[in-house]
C-alpha cells in the first residue's frame, strides 16, 4: 500500500502531500524533512528506490519536481514507479504539457486528479481517458454552479436596485 505521496521541488519546496496512513502534523513535517534530505541529494544515474525506516520510497524526477511514494518493503517497486508516471501523464493531459507552475497555482487540481487515481493508498483507475473524463465532469459541475450563482446574484442585484 502507498503510505503517502509527496511532491517536492528541487529546492525542497513542497508542492503536494497526501497521507494515506495516519501521521500527526509533527510527524509529517519530520518525514518531509528526512526524505527531502535523502532524495534530493541522490545523483542522477542511481536507482529509483530508497530504503527508509523499514519502508521503500519510490521516487522519480520530472524536470524540477520529485514525485515520491512511500510503500511497504514487500510491495512491487516498479509497479509504483509506473503509478507515478501514470499520474504525471494524467496531469500532462489535463494541463497540456504540465510544468511546475501549473501545479503551484492549481495545486487543488493536482489533488482532484490524484484522488481519481489513488484511493486508500491503492491504484483506483488505470485508464487516463476515464480519469480525464471524470475531472472534466467535475469542472463542469463547478462551472455550472458558478453561473447559477452569478445569475442569482444578478437577479438579486436587479431586484434590489
Amino acid at each position: 500500500m502507498i503510505h503517502f505521496v509527496l511532491l517536492v521541488s528541487r529546492q525542497g519546496k513542497v508542492r503536494l502531500t497526501k497521507w494515506y496512513s495516519p501521521y500527526s502534523q509533527k510527524e509529517r513535517t519530520k518525514v518531509i524533512r528526512e526524505l527531502t534530505g535523502l532524495i534530493l541529494t541522490r545523483g542522477p544515474k542511481l536507482c529509483n528506490f530508497v530504503e527508509w525506516r523499514g519502508y521503500r520510497v519510490v521516487y522519480k524526477r520530472y524536470a524540477s519536481l520529485y514525485f515520491c511514494m512511500c510503500i511497504d518493503q514487500d510491495d512491487n517497486e516498479l509497479e509504483v514507479l509506473e503509478i507515478i508516471h501514470h499520474y504525471v501523464e494524467t496531469l500532462d493531459r489535463y494541463f497540456g504539457s504540465v510544468c511546475e507552475l501549473d501545479l503551484i497555482f492549481n495545486f487543488h487540481k493536482a489533488y482532484y486528479i490524484l484522488d481519481e487515481l489513488l484511493l486508500a493508498g491503492e491504484l483506483q483507475e488505470p485508464s487516463k481517458k476515464i480519469v480525464a473524463r471524470l475531472i472534466a465532469g467535475q469542472d463542469s459541475l463547478v462551472e455550472a454552479a458558478k453561473e447559477e450563482a452569478n445569475s442569482i446574484s444578478n437577479i438579486i442585484a436587479q431586484a434590489t436596485k
Binding site: C47, F105, H108, L141
Partner: protein, 1016 residues
C-alpha cells in the same frame, strides 16, 4: 501562466513566490492567517465562494509547512454544504489536513453517511473518497454496510463502485469485522467477473487484503484470478485505454499475481497448468526494450511472476530458469533492475536447492557491494549476508572487512554488525574469528558496539587454546600508533588475563606490557580507566618474581586514582591498592576469569530483533535457525541454569575459605546481587547482562554496606554461621548442587501479576504462594512442600523487608516431614510507595547438602492497587488538576516489547491498573486509572495515559499522575519495567541435566507437590 481560477488565491500564491527569504514568507503567511482567522470569526458575512477560497489558502499554508491550528471546523462544515463546489472543497481539504484520529471527523459521520446513501452520484464519490483516504474505526463501524451495498449494487455506475471497493478496503484495514457478513466470499467471487477494469482493479486490491489475512474463505476466488491472468496476459483481451505502453493493465496483472501468492497451494491440476502457462509466457516473453516505461511495466509483471513461481514451488526446471534470469538481472547496468535482481535473489535463498547456483554469482554480487548507489549496496550486503555459510564465510567476511574501510558512514554500523555475526556463526576456526573482530575494531571502532568485543572476550575465556593467540594479537595492535578506544579496552582486558602466557616472547615482559598499555591511559575516557586498572592489578599479580619497580609504579597509579571523582575508578583503585599489599592472597582473589555460561549471542539476538522490526520475512532468518553454527560451541561445564551464577562469586570461592567474616557478607551480597539483578538485566538489554559478566570481578568486594548490618540484625544469633558459609559455596565446588526447576525470575514475574502460584521449586522442595490483598494490607501464605521421602531439616526462612513494607512471618518449623506441606502466613503492611522488593532468604538441608536461595517475594507495588473505572466527567478534572512534575510525569519509553493494543490493555488490567475504554478519542491511546493504598498516602488516585505509535510498537509515551510525587515516580517506573520486561527464553535444566545431579525422584500422584499444584 495557468491561474487557479480564484483571484485571491492566485495573488496570495504569487506573493509567497515573490518573497525574497524565509522571513518575508513567514510575515506574509502570518498576515494571511490573521486575515483568514478574522474572516472566519464573523462567519455570517462569508459567501460560499469566500469560504472555499480561505480553506484553500489554509491548505496551501499548511503545505508550506506552517502550523494551521484553526479553521478545521469551517473546513469540515463545508462538507455539509448543499452545492457541489463547496462540498468538494470541504471533502478534499478535510482529507488533506486532518488525520483519522481527529475529533472533528466524528462530527461529520452523519453527513458523510447521508451523502453515501443518497442518490447523488457525485456526492457519493466525494464521500467515498474521503472515507477511503482517512476513515478510521468509527467510520468502519457505522458505514461498512452502506459501502458494501454500493460495491455490489447493479444500479451503480463503475465510478462509484470502484471507489466503494477501495473504501471498503480502508475500512477493512481499520476493522476486519466489516466483511464478517454471510456470503461475502461469494460476492467477492462474483466481483471478479467484472468487465470494467477500474472496478476489477480496485476489487483485486480488496481481495489481496482479504486473502492476506485469511485465504481459507476465498478459495473460490482462486480459479477466477487465474482466468483474469489468462485474459490479460495470454489473450490480451482488454480495451485499448487499459493498455499501458502496449501491456494489458500491468497493475491488474501484478495485483492478481499477488493475490495468488496468499494461497498455499493450487490443487486443481487444470488451474495449475493454466497458471504455469501464463507464468512461463511472462518469464520467457519479457524482453528488455528501449522505452523506460514499457520496460518498467513489463518487469514489474516479471518480478511478480518470479515471486509467484517461487511461492508455488514450481518444477526444478522453472526454478533454475528464474535463478538464471536473476543472475542476468544482477549484472545489467539498469540500476532498478539490478536492485530488484539482488532483492529477489535474497528472497530466493529460501527456496531449497538453489543456494549453490546463487553462490556462482558471488563475484558479481561483490561488485554490487561497491556500487555508487547506497540502495544497491544495501541489497548486495543483505544478499551476501543471507548466502553466507561455512563454505564461503571466509571470502565474504574478508570482502566485507575490506569494504569497511571505504564504505560510507551510513552503512558502517550495519556492515560491522553483519561481519561480526557471520564471523561468529561460520568461523572455520576460532583464531580467524578473533582476527576478524580485532580487524573490525581496528577499522571501524566507532561502529563496533560493546556486544561485539564482549563476545570475543567470552570466546577467548572459554577456549584455552585461543588465549595465547588472542593475547599476542592484542599485543600487536597496541604497537600501532593510534588505536581506537575499544581496541584499548579489549587488548587491555585480554593482556591482563593472558599476557603471562606470552612472557617469553620479546616485548612481552610484564613491564613492557604494562608500559605500552599505560601509554594509552591519557587518551581514554572514564569508562575505560577501570578496565585498565584491573589489567594493572592482574599484571602485578602475574609478575613472578615480583618486580619492585613495577610494583611501585602500579601502586602509585592506584594511589593517584584513590581520590578520583568517578566512584567506580575510585573504588577499584582503593581496593586494588589494598589487595596488592596482601601478598599471596592477591593471587587467589584475582585468579583467572572462569568460563562464561553458554548463551545465545547477543549479536544474533540483536540482528534478529532488527529483522523482526523491519518485518522482513527473509531467508536469512530461516536459514540462521537451521544452520548449526560451529562457532557457538562454547565449552562450558556448568549445566545451563535458569539463573546464571554470577561470575563474581565464582572468584570468591577461595576467599570464603580463607578470609575473615566480613568477607562472608560481601560474598553473600554477591549472591544476593545475582538473584536481584537477574531480572534487571532481563529487562534491560543483553549487553547490560554481558557487561555485568565482564566487569563482574570488580564487584568482588562489594561495599560492606548497610545490608550487612541489616542482615545480622535480622538474622539475629540464630542462624548458624556454618549454614551461611555453606550456602555461599558456589555451584562448581559442590558436587550435589541443587538445580532449581524452572526459571526463578520468570516465576517471580508471573506472580507479580497474579496472586497464587509457585515461587520456587527444586527436586526436593516446592514453595508455593497464595496471597490476599486488601487496601494497604496483605496476607501472603508460603506453602513449603517436601517432595521427598526423607525429611528436610534445618529449614530457615528469613524475610528481608524493604523499608516501605512491614512484614511479619509466623514461625517456620525447623523440619518438614517427608511428603508434607507446611503453611507459613506472612502479614504485610504497605507503609509508602516504593518499588523495593522483599527478599525471602530460604535454606534447608537435605542429606549433607545445604541449599540456600534468596527469592524475591511478589509483594510489589501493584499489589496495593485497586482498579477503579472512571467516567469522562470524573477523569478529566482530576487529570487537569494534576499538572506537571512532580505530580504528573511523562516519559517516552523505548524498547518496549511490541504488543497489540488489546494485549497492552490486558497487561495493564493484570497490573490492577484499569483501562477505561473510550476516554481517549485516539484509538491508539490507553487511559487507565487505579487507587493506591499505603499507610502514608492512604487511598490515592493514580491516572495513567499511554500513547502508542501504530507504526512503531516498540516505543510509547507514558504519562502518570497522582497526588503524591513518590508514588507517581514509583508507579511510572514499575509500569515501565512491566512494559520492557522480556521473558527469558526458557531453558530448564531438563534440557541438559548435570551429570552430578541425582535424578529427581519420580513424583507419585499423591505427592505434596502435586497436591500443592492442585491447591493453587
Amino acid at each position: 501562466m495557468a491561474l487557479s481560477g480564484m483571484r485571491g488565491l492566485s495573488v496570495f500564491i504569487s506573493d509567497i513566490r515573490n518573497c525574497q527569504n524565509k522571513e518575508q514568507e513567514r510575515l506574509r503567511v502570518d498576515k494571511e492567517l490573521g486575515n483568514v482567522r478574522t474572516r472566519f470569526k464573523n462567519e455570517k458575512g462569508l459567501t460560499p465562494y469566500e469560504k472555499k477560497k480561505y480553506v484553500w489558502k489554509m491548505l496551501y499554508i499548511y503545505m508550506l509547512g506552517y502550523d494551521v491550528d484553526f479553521g478545521h471546523m469551517e473546513t469540515v462544515s463545508l462538507i455539509s454544504a448543499p452545492k457541489y463546489p463547496e462540498k468538494q472543497v470541504g471533502y478534499i481539504v478535510t482529507a488533506c489536513m486532518l488525520n483519522e484520529n481527529h475529533d472533528f471527523l466524528r462530527l461529520a459521520i452523519n453527513t458523510v453517511r447521508n451523502d453515501i446513501i443518497g442518490r447523488n452520484e457525485t456526492f457519493q464519490c466525494l464521500a467515498l473518497t474521503m472515507v477511503g483516504n482517512i476513515g478510521g474505526r468509527e467510520f468502519a463501524e457505522s458505514l461498512a454496510p452502506d459501502v458494501q451495498k454500493l460495491l455490489i449494487s447493479s444500479s451503480c455506475r463503475p465510478l462509484v463502485r470502484k471507489k466503494a471497493a477501495l473504501c471498503l478496503l480502508r475500512l477493512y484495514r481499520k476493522n476486519a469485522d466489516v466483511v464478517n457478513v454471510d456470503g461475502w466470499a461469494d460476492r467477492m467471487t462474483q466481483l471478479l467477473d467484472e468487465r470494467d477494469l477500474g472496478v476489477l482493479t480496485s476489487s483485486m486490491s480488496l481481495l489481496v487484503a482479504l486473502v492476506s489475512n485469511n485465504h481459507e474463505a476465498y478459495w473460490s476466488c482462486l480459479p477466477k484470478c487465474v482466468k483474469i491472468l489468462e485474459r490479460l496476459a495470454r489473450n490480451q483481451d482488454v480495451p485499448q485505454e487499459y493498455t499501458y505502453y502496449g501491456i494489458p493493465s500491468p497493475w491488474l496483472q501484478v495485483k492478481t499475481m499477488r493475490a495468488l501468492q496468499y494461497f498455499p497451494v493450487i490443487e486443481d491440476p487444470n488451474t495449475r497448468r493454466s497458471l504455469f502457462e501464463v507464468l512461463q509466457r511472462v518469464l520467457v516473453g519479457t524482453d528488455v526494450v528501449k522505452n523506460v516505461n514499457k520496460n518498467n511495466a513489463s518487469h514489474a509483471v516479471l518480478f511478480e511472476a518470479l515471486s509467484l513461481v517461487m511461492h508455488l514451488d514450481a518444477e526444478k526446471e522453472m526454478m533454475s530458469q528464474c535463478v538464471a534470469l536473476l543472475g542476468k538481472f544482477i549484472a545489467v547496468r539498469e540500476p532498478n533492475i539490478r536492485y530488484l535482481g539482488l532483492e529477489n535473489m535474497t528472497r530466493m535463498l529460501m527456496v531449497t536447492d538453489v543456494q549453490e547456483i546463487i553462490k556462482k554469482h558471488q563475484a558479481q554480487i561483490i561488485t554490487s557491494l561497491k556500487d555508487p548507489d547506497i540502495s544497491i549496496r544495501r541489497r548486495a550486503l543483505d544478499l551476501l549476508y543471507g548466502m553466507c555459510d561455512v563454505s564461503n564465510a571466509k571470502d565474504i567476511v574478508e570482502e566485507l572487512l575490506q569494504y569497511l574501510s571505504t564504505s560510507d558512514f551510513a552503512m558502517r554500523e550495519e556492515l560491522s554488525l553483519k561481519a561480526a555475526i557471520l564471523a561468529e556463526k561460520f568461523a572455520p576456526d576460532l583464531s580467524w574469528y578473533v582476527d576478524v573482530i580485532l580487524q573490525l575494531i581496528d577499522k571501524a571502532g566507532d561502529f563496533v558496539s560493546d556486544d561485539i568485543w564482549f563476545r570475543v572476550v567470552q570466546f577467548v575465556t572459554n577456549n584455552e587454546d585461543l588465549q595465547p593467540y588472542a593475547a599476542l594479537k592484542a599485543r600487536e595492535y597496541l604497537d600501532k600508533p593510534a588505536i581506537h578506544e575499544t581496541m584499548v579496552k579489549v587488548s587491555a582486558y585480554l593482556l591482563g588475563e593472558y599476557s603471562h602466557l606470552l612472557a617469553r616472547r620479546p616485548g612481552c615482559s610484564p613491564k613492557e606490557i604494562f608500559t605500552i598499555i599505560h601509554e594509552k591511559l591519557p587518551t581514554v575516557s572514564t569508562p575505560t580507566i577501570p578496565i585498565l586498572l584491573s589489567t594493572y592489578a592482574k599484571i602485578l599479580m602475574h609478575t613472578q618474581p615480583p618486580d619492585p619497580e613495577l610494583q611501585n609504579q602500579i601502586l602509585a597509579i592506584f594511589q593517584k586514582y584513590e581520590s578520583c571523582i568517578d566512584a567506580e575508578i575510585q573504588q577499584r583503585a582503593v581496593e586494588y591498592f589494598t589487595l596488592s599489599r596482601k601478598g599471596p592472597a592477591l593471587a587467589d582473589i584475582l585468579a583467572e576469569m572462569p568460563k562464561f555460561p553458554e548463551r545465545q549471542s547477543a549479536l544474533i539476538k540483536k540482528a534478529e530483533d532488527i529483522e523482526t522490526d523491519t518485518a522482513e520475512q527473509s531467508a536469512i532468518k530461516l536459514r540462521a535457525q537451521q544452520q548449526i553454527s560451529n562457532a557457538l560451541v562454547v565449552t562450558d561445564y556448568r549445566p545451563p541454569n535458569g539463573t546464571p551464577p554470577p561470575v563474581g562469586s565464582l572468584n570468591l570461592v577461595k576467599v570464603s575459605s580463607t578470609s575473615s567474616n566480613s568477607d562472608y557478607n560481601s560474598v553473600d551480597q554477591g549472591a544476593d546481587h545475582t538473584n536481584g539483578t537477574v531480572s534487571k538485566s532481563d529487562s534491560q538489554t543483553a549487553s547490560a547482562d554481558l557487561l555485568g559478566d565482564l566487569l563482574g570481578p570488580l564487584a568482588i568486594e562489594g561495599p560492606p554496606g548497610a545490608a550487612t548490618s541489616e542482615q545480622s540484625v535480622l538474622s539475629g544469633g540464630d542462624v548458624p554461621s556454618a549454614a551461611d558459609a555453606a550456602a555461599i559455596v558456589p555451584v562448581q565446588d559442590q558436587p550435589n548442587y541443587v538445580q532449581p526447576i524452572g526459571n526463578i525470575a520468570e516465576r517471580f514475574h508471573a506472580l507479580c501479576l497474579k496472586d497464587s502460584g509457585v515461587l520456587y521449586e527444586d527436586p526436593y522442595i516446592q514453595i508455593g504462594i497464595k496471597a490476599d490483598w486488601r487496601a494497604h494490607q496483605g496476607r501472603l501464605v508460603l506453602f513449603l512442600g517436601n517432595k521427598n521421602t526423607s525429611p528436610l531439616v534445618s529449614v530457615q526462612a528469613l524475610i528481608l523487608p524493604p523499608l516501605n513494607l512491614k512484614m511479619e512471618l509466623s514461625l517456620v518449623p525447623d523440619t518438614i516431614p517427608p511428603r508434607a506441606q507446611v503453611q507459613c502466613p506472612l502479614e504485610i503492611i504497605n507503609l509508602r510507595p516504593s518499588r523495593d522488593v522483599a527478599v525471602l532468604d530460604f535454606s534447608y538441608k537435605f542429606g549433607t547438602n545445604v541449599v540456600n536461595n534468596k527469592l524475591r517475594l511478589p509483594a510489589v507495588i501493584n499489589k496495593f492497587l485497586q482498579p477503579i473505572q472512571l467516567s469522562t466527567e470524573e477523569f478529566f478534572p482530576q487529570w487537569r488538576s494534576l499538572s506537571g512534575p512532580p505530580l504528573k510525569l511523562q516519559e517516552v519509553v523505548r524498547g518496549v516489547r511490541p504488543l497489540p493494543l488489546m494485549e497492552l490493555a490486558n497487561l495493564f488490567n493484570s497490573c490492577r491498573v484499569m483501562v477505561c475504554p473510550g476516554l481517549d478519542p485516539n484509538p491508539n491511546n490507553l487511559v487507565a486509572s487505579t487507587t493506591f493504598y499505603s499507610e502514608s498516602t492512604r487511598a490515592m488516585l493514580c491516572l495513567v495515559r499511554i500513547e502508542t505509535d501504530p507504526a512503531d510498537r516498540t516505543q510509547l509515551r507514558m504519562t502518570v499522575a497522582s497526588g503524591d510525587p513518590t508514588l507517581t515516580f514509583e508507579l511510572k517506573e514499575f509500569i515501565k519495567e512491566q512494559l520492557v520486561y522480556i521473558p527469558e527464553a526458557s531453558h530448564g535444566p531438563t534440557q541438559a541435566p548435570a551429570p552430578a545431579v541425582p535424578q529427581a525422584p519420580v513424583i507419585p500422584p499423591d505427592d505434596p507437590a502435586a497436591i500443592l499444584a492442585g491447591l493453587l
